[in-house]
Each structure stands twice: as C-alpha cells, then as structure tokens.
C-alpha cells in the first residue's frame, strides 16, 4: 500500500506543478493552453543543464526559466498585442513540442549525471514517516516533491492572505475595476503568466530529471492537458489542486497496479476517468453557483483601457 502511495506521488508531482502554474495564470485572467508546451520546454532545458553541469539546483532554475520564457512569449502576444489567448496557447504547445525535440535531438538516450540523481533520491523525514498512511504521503520522497508541497502552501497564502494576491485575483475577476483602483494590470498579468509558466516548466523537468532520467522525446505525453482539466477540477484553488493532482496521479497508476495483480480492468476506462471527473465537477460547480468555484470573471478576455 505504501508503495502504491509513493508511486502515486511520483505520478502526481508533474501534474501538481503544472496545475499550480496554470491556476496562477488563470487567476490573473489568462487562459494559457500552452501548458504541455511549457512543460516540454522545462523538461528539455532542465535536462540539458543537468546533463551539462551536473548541478541539480541549476537544472531546476533553468527549467523554471525555460517554462517562464515560453510563457513570456504568450504574455507578449496576448497582453501587449491583445491576441486571442486560446489560439496563442495552442500555438505555444506546438512550439514547445518542436523546441524540445530540436534541443533534445542530440541527447536521446543520455542519462542524468549521478550527482543530480543523488540529489533527487528519496529523503525520509524522521517521526512523520512513521505515521500510517499519511506518513508515506508526507515522507520518503525527493526534494522536488517537497518543493511542490511547499509551493501549495505558499501559493495559498499568497492568493488569499496577501495584498498582492488580492490584487491579482481582482485583475482576473474584473480587470476594469482593478485598473480603476490603481493596480498595474500589465505588470500583474506579465508577472503571473511568467511565474505560472515557470511552474509548468518545473513540472516537465520532474518528468525528465526524476521520473525518467534518460532523455526521450516527448516525455510529457499529454500530462499538460490533464493539468488544464485539473485546474477546473480544483476550481482554481491550490489546496484542491494538491488533492486533485494526487487523485489523478493515483488513478493513472491504479489501473496498472490492478492489472499487475491479475485483476481485470480496462485501461481505456481508467484513462478517461480524469476527463469524466472534470466534467462532473464542472456540472456540479455550475449548479451550485458558488462564487469561489467559478472561473475568474474576466478569464481569457484581452484587456485594453481604451476599449472598455
């Protein structure tokens, strides 16, 4: 059982980072569908730096910067140039996929250096690891996973307990009102789109540095899209995103585990669950009509003061 929970955490971590990144972008009013592309950019740049320098911290910073750079393109096109966010996001996904294949071409089959593997080896937390059930979720993971946990807490505080978080949510809910109250709309949008992209990049880097530490093209394989669904599933809330990512991660390996025990289950059915669950959550959310479960009011609408 603890083996299953530990494996579920490994499957959940890339989803968690990408979901948190997209929550940040969407909360500030930008629907960035380029998650898959930004994850791939983070995956390939993180791997390149890890491979070249053997320095895990540098690899993570580079992965964050790569995801952020992808998001920066998105920000220029959608915030400054006011282009359609959906089209731009999809384009970013295609760009990121090509970018990662191009940059990664010469590294196919190369391994992450031992120094990096060692850094990302599981670390046991004393005492907490002995608690049943919760212990194997909280303890015995790699540094990357713990960073994800910290991120959940930090972002929750930021969103709901700080002035900047309030302003950022105002930008997403009602851009014109936020503008009128003196919030720097362009700055807020840029900052959160880029930061969100950086988190997506880290999610991709988890796959290429920890999950499968040998470079292979397209290591993300659709997880970016699951993250987009997860944002809705989590109703734009970092804490719910944590539970959602854990649930989706657990489900993604549950079918495999049951099969290995010889229990008959269709992998097709298991694979469609995240999407079906998201639809159910959307329907429930829409019916309950609770303000905090709804998407940000001005999500995906370009804002220009002159065109109000």
């Amino acid at each position: 059982m603890s083996g299953f929970l530990a494996a579920a955490i490994v499957a959940a971590t890339p989803l968690l980072f990408a979901t948190l990144g997209e929550v940040i972008a969407e909360k500030s009013g930008s629907l960035n569908l380029g998650v898959e592309g930004m994850m791939l950019m983070g995956a390939v740049i993180g791997f390149t730096v890890a491979y070249g320098t053997g320095n895990p911290a540098a690899a993570m910073i580079a992965a964050f910067a790569a995801g952020g750079a992808g998001a920066f393109i998105f920000a220029i096109v959608t915030v400054s140039l006011q282009a359609n966010q959906v089209v731009t996001g999809l384009t970013l996904t295609i760009f990121g996929s090509g970018f990662s294949s191009f940059v990664g071409d010469r590294m196919i089959g190369q391994s992450v250096p031992a120094s990096v593997l060692k850094f990302f080896a599981p670390i046991d937390i004393p005492l907490i690891g002995d608690i049943p059930f919760v212990g194997s979720v909280l303890s015995g993971h790699d540094a990357f996973v713990y960073l994800g946990y910290v991120m959940v807490i930090v972002l929750s505080i930021y969103l709901y307990r700080t002035r900047a978080g309030l302003n950022m949510r105002a930008v997403g809910e009602n851009t014109a009102a936020a503008d009128a109250s003196g919030v720097n709309i362009t700055l807020y949008k840029y900052a959160h789109i880029i930061f969100g992209g950086g988190l997506c990049g880290l999610g991709g880097a988890y796959l290429s540095l920890v999950t499968v530490p040998i470079w292979q093209a397209d290591v993300v394989t659709g997880r970016g899209w699951i993250a987009v669904a997860l944002v809705i599933f989590a109703s734009w809330n970092p804490i719910k995103a944590f539970f959602g990512a854990f649930l989706f991660g657990a489900l993604s390996i549950l079918g495999l585990r049951l099969q290995s025990m010889g229990i008959h289950i269709s992998q097709y059915l298991v694979d469609l669950f995240p999407y079906a669950a998201t639809i159910v959550i959307v329907i429930i959310g829409t019916h309950k009509n609770r303000k905090e479960d709804l998407p940000p009011g001005n999500l995906s609408e370009p804002y220009s003061r002159e065109n109000r």
Binding site: V87, S101, P213, Q259
Partner: protein, 375 residues
Amino acid sequence: MRKIFPIVLFVIALTVSLAACGSDKDKGDGAAGEKSAEPLTIGFIYIGTVNDGGYTQAQDAGTKAVESHFGDRVKALRLESIDDTNKQAAMDAAKQMIDQGAKVIVGTSFGFGEALNEMANSGDYDDITFLHFSGSYINDTNLGNYFGAMEEPRYLSGIIAGMQTESNKLGYVAAYPYTEVQIGINAFALGAQSVNPDAEVKVVYINSWYDPAKEKEAAEALLSQGCDVITQHADTTGPQLAAAAADKYAIGYNLDNSAVEGLEDAFLTAPIWNHEIFLIPTIQAILDGTWEPESYYGTMADGYIDLAPLTKNVSAEATAKVEEVMTKIKAGEFPIFVGPIKDNAGNVKVPEGQTLDRSGIWKTDYLVEGVTAGE
C-alpha cells in the same frame, strides 16, 4: 487594433497548418522526368519522430541505410508524427510527398494501411508504389506489405528470461491487447516455459505506444508483484529504467540499450528490426522495374529481425541455450508455435501435432497458459 491581431495570427496559423497538410493542387508528374537523370523519390510516413529512441528511430535507421546504399539514385522524404488513427492525416501526408515527386510511399505503421489501400486502388495513383509495414493490404499492381516474424526473437528472449529469473515471475509491459502484441507475449511465454516450466508471465497494458513515464510506472507495478525480469512491447526505455532501479533485469525492444548509462547491469538483450534488409532489395527492384506486389515476412534467417547481442548480464548457460535454438530457427527447423498450446483459460488452441504457419499465427486472439493479463 485589437481586432486585427487575432485575425493576423489566425491567418498565420492557417497558413502554417495548410503548409503542413499539403495541398491537392498542382498534382501532376512534374518530377517524373527521365529515369536515369532523376533520383527515385521515396516518401516515408512515420508515426513518431526519427529520434524517439525506439520504433520510429529503428524505421529511420532503415531509411538511412537505403540512402547510403543508393546514394544519389534515391531521395528520401520523411513526414514525422503522423497520427495513425486518422486516415485523412495519412492520406494528406502521402499526397504531400507525391506532390513533391515521390514515386514510392512507405507507410511505417499499422494504422496507415487503410489510407494507402484506398489511394493505391483509387486509380489516381497508378504510377505510385505503396509499401505498408505491419498490415495485410495488397493488390495486383502497386500495393505490397512487409513485416517480420518477431515471434522468433521474442521466443529467444523468453528463453533468457526463463533462465535468469529467480522468482519465476516475468513482467511484460504491453501497449494494446491486439494480435501483434499477443503473438509477442505468447512467443515470449513459450520460450520461457521451454526452459522453465514454472515461469509465469504477468502482462500490464498501458494503452499507448509511447509514454516513458507510464511505461516505467507499469514496470514498477510488475516489479511490486515480484517480477524480476521485465520486458516490453512499447517504445521507450521507461520499463528498463524501472528494472535497473530495482536491481532486476530488463529486455528491451527496437534498440540495443546495453551501453545506456544506468542500464549496464540490467539490460539483457532486445528483439530488434533491420528494415533495410527488406527495403534495399525492394527499392532496387522498383528502380529496375521488376518489382511486383508481395507480402514479405522477414525472418531471423533473412536478418530482417534479430536479437541484440547478449550482454554480460546473461548467464553462460542461457547464452548457450539461445545460440542452440537460434541456429535451429535460422535453419528453419524450429517453428515457434507447436501444439499442444492452451490459452490461459485452459482451452486447447493448437492441438498436438499441429504447427501454426504465418496465417495461423496472425489469427491469434488469446494469451497462452501461464500468462496473466489484467485486460
């Protein structure tokens, strides 16, 4: 101003996607020319990227061998990452390359078959030769297919697994439950049981051909059930990494990964393809004008399929046994599927005294005794 940018962007996106899909206009035989002067243009449709570290990379190794063998007498075009569940995408890819002068279209995935079959028989492309990998479509004039007796190296890899295992549990990470995959699983299981009657094969289907992380997770699930040799019918090194991390053994697929860092102590061997063994003589026949549609089924004797060199991790005993059986297989004295064969529900599928030939093998829709699968 704000209304213009989305439109501009849309137009750019449209142009790019149209360029990628190719257009039907300007169809004609502009590039036909004189046979001697113009190189023969061959269009390859790939399901993945040429550097995917597996299936498509192996296909492209064959293409590269064709290029270096024929030099400037042929010109190879490649379209990568074509969706093989979308007939229109495959047809667009083929048409685009025909527009660029391709006289031969090679579809290197099962799903491209319908598109090639329809085009070959439409009457519009009678001057084009179509070759399809892993399907059964064929006609009398311009459509042939090719594949290999992968059951031979799979059986041999099963012998190794059966002799290396201590737990008698072998893990098999498989893509989808369909004939080609089932044949591989059965051959592997029969090979293992031939040297170790207690060997049991556990199969996990992942519902994908290519997903490094999911393949690794599937292998971890199998390892948690006590499997100590992991093999795969999926395209990445994921399962091998999982086996290496658990200090167990791995048998790959498509590529010899013995030199990959971190796999040195885990990798045993891998069933592999040598596509040039089919492609070079076939292209030569097309160049000579002597080609006729055939349904090629390459064997280990041809060298079309093979087993990657056994590594130091394979015991001397197992190496000797594999060499003994391989010699018989290559001599054509060792059919893989010999009755009695029961399925895993106990029904007799091949009665005593019978041997499955190629068409019999490709009617497989069951898993043999000793195999457990979750689907």
